[in-house]
Symmetry: C2
Subunit: 145 residues, 2 copies
DNA sequence: TTTCGTGCAAAACCTTTGCAAAGTG
DNA sequence: CACTTTGCAAAGGTTTTGCACGAAA
């Protein structure tokens, strides 16, 4: 309950259940990926995730494919930090947050605030369905300034 | 004044001036790119922009390089619509807007609202400098739903 | 004239795809 | 057993880089 930095075991179990509910299979690579995404909450690129899975791991292609599959059903969320590589993080239901990325050292800070609900509502009123959004903040952090 | 869909001549002139002020050169390709970005306000990919410049145009590589240079000094802004291609639009000073992108037909609607000012302020309070942000809304548009 | 931009070609990079074999429910 | 996922290899597509030449201030 209310563990700020990590997804609970239950959340990961729920994610696995969601995979099954959508006709997907729960495999070893997916378990491993979700374990890391739930614990370190990153966001990580496919490459980074692949390294973290390590020896027992799977092919990088599998990481790409699994991330894509899990993103489509909302189990993970994709972030773009503007450096040509997509990163993924565990999608903790409605409680989403955003990041401040330092343009110089690439450090990432998490902001537990979301201000885009109004915009999402606006989009729904315009007739859009399955509305989501991406929001990232960029700047030069105190250490690099 | 207050032309909703286009940047004024003055805005483009200002952009050119900003390029010079940052030690850049105002070249034919850059004029052409800004003319289109100011008029159609896109956002366009480098490839699209290159096609729009047309016969008199320049190499695609030049478009890439110019867009990058102009983004660094804030003359244009880069958007990520999640399909692996970056798009650029004219950066009209403080008056920025956001987009709703249809996940199916890839149509783009403009939202003249920005809700991230609070987040930017928060970032500045944390000691970040040169704060910017990206925010895009995704959904399935009425026609595709 | 000094510095920056451009063209061309090639490279780098991340991500996707095809197909047969293996795993999941 | 039907269907999904994986591995391997290869392709795809966008963006970047090197270098000599040309252009801007």
């Amino acid at each position: 309950m209310s563990d700020h930095c990590c997804a609970s075991e239950g959340a990961i179990a729920g994610a696995l259940e969601k995979i099954r509910a959508n006709g997907g299979r729960v495999t070893e690579p997916r378990r491993a990926m979700l374990a890391i995404l739930g614990k370190e909450h990153g966001p990580f690129s496919a490459e980074e995730l692949h390294k973290k899975i390590g020896g027992a791991g799977c092919d990088v292609v599998t990481v790409y494919r699994s991330l894509q599959a899990m993103e489509e059903i909302g189990v993970v969320r994709r972030c773009d930090f503007g450096d040509g590589t997509y990163r993924y993080e565990f999608n903790d239901g409605e409680h989403h947050h955003h990041h401040i990325i330092c343009r110089v050292c690439r450090s990432v800070e998490t902001l537990d605030v979301c201000v885009a609900d109004g915009l999402e509502r606006m989009a729904r009123q315009k007739g859009y369905q399955k509305v989501t959004h991406t929001l990232e903040i960029f700047g030069v952090c105190p250490k690099c300034a």
